[in-house]
Structure formats: structure tokens, C-alpha cells
Amino acid sequence: MSAPELAPIPIPPAPPPPGAARISLHTAVTLLAFTLAFTALMAGVYQLTKPVLDATALDAQRRMIAEVLPPDLYDNELLEDAIQLPATPALGLAAPTTLYRARLGDQPAALVFETAAPDGYSGEIRLILAVRADGRLAAVRVTQHKETPGLGDYIDAKKDKNKQHPWITQFSGRHFGDPPREKWRVKKDGGVFEQRAGATISARAVTNATTRALGWALERADALYALPAGSQWKEPAR
């Protein structure tokens, strides 16, 4: 086996060391290339998952509403009959939310809306509740919270160990009168609602927020039902 004759390879003169500007430009371009490639990957997955996510979000909303308002209490298209609430400090809401109006044969049936308790043990507790046109609270549920697992999280019906009568269901069907408004507190504060030992703060936060929200809705019920769908709620000047 004979190797072909090779001309001696001339050694090129060493290039001058690149300047700082060149290095940073080159590095930046490399980084940019990687950024572009991986942003494209994320964008692709986003496109792929978006329809599924939208569908599940809508579905979750329907399910959440069904938790607080039985479907046989209304016959309108609830998600269409909505008005926008601006940030409402009275409800503990720092961002706009949506309020849904349930009607049965054109008669007001219930208001479904969100509220938030700012004073949970570990921050905000978000609630959804339905207030029936006769002033009764249909039900209230916790939608988001960061209460201590195994201790304060019984306010969430899904986490409550008592599956027959979760703590949060004691509000269902109650109104200002049963008990009277000044008794809408946890027992420890002189009210009628149970709290669980060791986690009163969570129960108190939910109870007080529910009471506030119920009062808020009752005071404005007529105006809230009267507003055309899709419009923005404005607190009337007093």
C-alpha cells in the first residue's frame, strides 16, 4: 500500500487574536441561534396544545359552575349571559372577573361570581359562589388556595377528608336570616359556622369572604340582573 506523494502543507500564519467586539458578536449569534431554535420548539408545542387547553379551560369553567349551581335551577346559556366585573376591592378582587347570570324562564335565578379572601393562612384563597335570586347562597367552593396540605386545605371540598359533608357545604342554602348576618362567622368568633381545630384562620378567611360576597351581591342584585349581557359593571355612585 503506497501513499500518494503529498506536497508539504504550508503552515498558515497565526491569525491575530480576535477582538472583544468580535468575540461578543460571535457568542451572541450562537446564543441567538439556540434561543431561536428552542423558542420555535415552545411555539410549536403551544400551537399544538392550544385548542386542547382552550377546551379544557371552558370545560373546567362549566364544571366549576355546576359545583355551585345545579343545572336544573336555570335554563339559559349561562356562559353567554355574562357581564364583566372590574377589579372590585369589596370582593377582594384585584383583577377583572366575569359574573354569570342564571335565569329560569327569563326570571332571575342566580348570580355566579368569584371572590377572594386575602387573609388565608398562606395568602389569597379564591372562591366561586352562586347567590340565588331569593337571597339564599346556593353554594360556595374554593377554586384556588395555598393553605397547608393536610391541615388548612379542608376548605377545598376535594381535599376534605369528610367526603359525605365537606366543610364548605355548610354554607349551602343559607341566607342572611339563617343565621342572621351578625352570626355569619366561625364559631370561634361567636358565629355559627364550624372551624376545624388547628386551622381556624383558613375557615375564618373563607367564611368572612363568603359573607362579604353574599352581602355585595344582594345589595346590587337587581342592577346586576338588569345589565345587558357582555357589558361592563360600574359601581353606581352613591
Binding site: 434561543t35 428552542f38 423558542t39 408545542v45 396544545t49 388547628g198
Partner: protein, 227 residues
């Protein structure tokens, strides 16, 4: 083959992410309040680690050494985002439980550590295998930690399993009226239990060493003098 065995042994025991390298404690402490939470996040971590190791290993020829850290972080963060979106879309119930913890995987330093220490220097297959094994090493420890904390803190095991396997029930190990032991659920409890686990591992290692030494000594003594 022996290489695969070494990777497995490193991941599961020797350089176990938690017990050996003590990395990724941030997410470990945050979510090991129950066995189901812990194992579920661990599974997502396995997925991210395997993918990150695989991709970094495949691209290692293109990544300039000087800027490898930002690129590794970029890759890991993108993968976590992808896993986050995919889980939200296709494993929604699990996502509802784990959603807030998934972003924690980005800052789980065990992922970056394996990418830097292993994937950047090894072939794609080995790198992916290392990711899986390190991930399993993470899962078994975090799962055990979660189970112990849940058992002491709440008296149950596998609470919340119905969110992953519908119809399955949590096991009430201690009597219904067990008052719970809050410290186990709170972050200090995680440190206590983790400390005990590490002590246990060190004890097992120490015992194995002593036995090996004793065997060696016995073997030496049984050799006749002058042989």
C-alpha cells in the same frame, strides 16, 4: 454493560441526587408533603432530565464551552415549558395537582448538574440513560420522604391517588381520629426526615464497608505465611 451498571448504581445509590449529591432540595422540600405529590413531580423530573441529557448530548458539538451554562439553562427551561404545556393539555388532572410545581424543575440543580457533568461529555444513549437513572434515584428518595411525612403528619398513605388513578382510595394507616403531626408536613419536617434518610444511607454504607474490610482481613489471614 458495566458502564450501564455503573450509571445505574450511581443514580440509585452512590451519587444519588438527594442522598449523595444533595441537589434539588428546593423542589424536594416543597412538594414531598405526600407520597403522590412527590412521586408525580419526580416522574416529571425524570422526563425532563432524560430529555435534557439527550438533547445536550446530541448538541454538545455545537455548544461553545464558554457559554454552555446559559445554553444549558435555555434548553432545560424550554423543555420544562414543553412538559408543562403538554401535561396541561393531555394529563390535565395530574396537571391540576402538580401545575405549580412543574416550573420548579427548572431550578432543580440536579438537572443542570447532570447536563454539565455527564451529558456534555458522553454519547446520547448513555446520557439519556443517566438522566433516567438519576431521575429514578430522585423519585425513590422523594417518594419515600413524601410517604414518611404524610404518614407521620396525616396518618394516611397515598392521599390524592384518586386524582391520578380514578377510583383508588387513600390508605388510612393510623386511626381516623389521629390528630396529625403538623411539623412533619411543614418544611422543617422535610429537613428532619431527610436528615434521618441521609443518616440511614451513611449507616448502610458504613456497615457495607466494615464488612468488606472484615472479609478482606479474613482472606489475608487465611493465606498461609510465606506463600
Amino acid at each position: 454493560m458495566s458502564q450501564l451498571r455503573a450509571i445505574t448504581h450511581n443514580g440509585l445509590w452512590n451519587q444519588n441526587p438527594v442522598l449523595g449529591q444533595m441537589l434539588g432540595l428546593c423542589s424536594l422540600l416543597a412538594i414531598s408533603t405526600s407520597a403522590v405529590n412527590a412521586v408525580s413531580l419526580g416522574l416529571a423530573t425524570i422526563l425532563v432530565m432524560a430529555m435534557a441529557n439527550l438533547i445536550v448530548s446530541l448538541l454538545r458539538g455545537f455548544i461553545p464551552h464558554e457559554i454552555r451554562i446559559p445554553i444549558f439553562i435555555l434548553i432545560i427551561a424550554s423543555l420544562v415549558t414543553v412538559v408543562d404545556m403538554a401535561m396541561n393539555a393531555w394529563l390535565h388532572d395530574l396537571y391540576l395537582v402538580l401545575g405549580i410545581f412543574i416550573p420548579l424543575i427548572v431550578v432543580n440543580c440536579i438537572v443542570l448538574a447532570r447536563v454539565e457533568a455527564f451529558a456534555a461529555k458522553n454519547s446520547a444513549g448513555l446520557a439519556a440513560f443517566d438522566g433516567v437513572m438519576m431521575g429514578i434515584g430522585f423519585v425513590w428518595v422523594i417518594g419515600l420522604l413524601g410517604a414518611i411525612r404524610e404518614f407521620i403528619g396525616q396518618g394516611t398513605l397515598l392521599a390524592g391517588i384518586d386524582m391520578i388513578v380514578p377510583g383508588m382510595q387513600a390508605i388510612q394507616v393510623l386511626p381516623e381520629d389521629y390528630p396529625g403531626f403538623l411539623v412533619a408536613i411543614l418544611p422543617p419536617g422535610a429537613f428532619f426526615v431527610l436528615g434521618l434518610l441521609i443518616a440511614g444511607r451513611n449507616w448502610l454504607d458504613h456497615r457495607a464497608n466494615e464488612r468488606a474490610k472484615a472479609r478482606l482481613l479474613a482472606a489475608q489471614q487465611s493465606i498461609p505465611a510465606g506463600a
